[in-house]
Amino acid sequence: MSGDPSGEGSGPEKAPADGDLSARLKRLETQLEGKRPKVASSERARNSASGGSAQLGQAMRLSTEFIAGVIAGGILGYIVDHLFGTKPWGMIVLLMLGFVTGIYNVMRVSGFSGRKN
């Protein structure tokens, strides 16, 4: 891991003779190391750029996730009442369940529940 450039230059002629695989691997590693930071930094830049749009997208999700939960509960309640003739109760129970689901959805999107998606 000395990594001096002159040693690397003379490497290819010497390498087959001593056959020291680990030394060659180390040399390769130092050469790769020299190239790595550039790649990593550009990767990071790309991640932060896509992270910004991902966060914006998440913000867009928050409101509709809540509303969708309540609407889904309401529709389910209506269907249950219609099918089983339990006029007010299906709607009441499932609308409340929909409200809970809405809150749960929002918690999930914002990462409060500790689980993603």
Binding site: S53, M60, R61, A68, I71, L94, L97, G98, N105
Partner: protein, 251 residues
């Protein structure tokens, strides 16, 4: 006053070719369908024709197509893992369709197809039906594991399972309502602020103030372009996230 505001008028369907009637309901080829065909044509032009050269150093259009493709490929890979690759065509098609329709809607006098709830709900239904059908076909009854969150104490499951079921059913609603509401609200806001300019100009001395809504209209236009792209991205991301459930049910 001569100028009247009707910000909803732009969303009216206009039949171009009548195909007959079912009861009182007219069946017609509307401008909405025309815009959808135009979008498909543009997408085909962009993805098939522009990349047909297969240049190693891509030209502008090829670079655009490749960037969009890699962007979606990245998104799908992150959300679903290695075996999500098979859904890439679906997600990419949906993304391009929504993106191009949103952007077409931004052209002055053009019609925004995605401002109709039935269109976005149809797209969302495609996604959810794919999730359900693929999930059941691949995992059988294990697919029901979607509704059972892991690491939750047994008694709590009594509450959590119904919540998860309603949450699952709310997905197509949130997916479609989000896209439709954003596009609809954006176009209405644009129209109203643009009308303010006209009304102030007509109102004599108040015309001095007309640059204010004009500036706001310009800013809103920029915002709407952002929303158009972002909503397509959100739609594609969520499609990938939901498809991940079909691949790996039971969280």
């Amino acid at each position: 006053m001569a100028v009247s505001i009707d910000p909803i008028h732009q969303f009216e369907l206009q039949p171009l070719v009548s195909l007959g009637h079912i009861g009182n309901q007219q069946l017609a080829f509307t401008q909405s369908a025309l815009y959808m065909f135009a979008a498909v044509g543009i997408i085909a032009l962009l993805t098939i024709v522009a990349t047909s050269g297969r240049a190693v150093v891509p030209g502008r259009l090829q670079a655009l197509a490749e960037t969009l493709y890699e962007f979606i490929a990245d998104t799908v890979h992150q959300a679903t893992g290695a075996d999500g690759k098979r859904f890439l065509p679906l997600v990419f098609s949906l993304f391009m369709f929504v993106l191009i329709l949103n952007l077409l809607g931004m052209i002055p006098y053009a019609f925004a197809v995605t401002s109709h709830l039935i269109v976005t709900f149809g797209l969302a239904l495609v996604v959810i039906l794919t999730v359900v059908i693929y999930g059941v076909a691949k995992h059988g009854t294990h697919f029901l594991g979607v509704f059972v969150p892991s690491g939750v104490p047994k008694p709590l499951l009594l509450i959590m399972v119904p919540i998860e079921i309603v949450s699952f059913l709310s997905r197509p609603i949130s997916l479609s309502v989000r896209l439709f509401a954003n596009i609809l609200a954006g176009h209405i806001a644009l129209k109203i602020f643009a009308f303010f300019v006209v009304q102030l100009l007509v109102a004599g001395a108040w015309g001095v103030l007309s640059p204010l809504p004009l500036a706001l209209t310009i800013a809103l236009t920029a915002l709407e372009f952002l929303v158009a792209a972002l909503q397509a991205y959100v739609f594609a991301t969520l499609t990938a996230v939901y498809l991940a459930d079909a691949l790996h049910p039971g969280h």
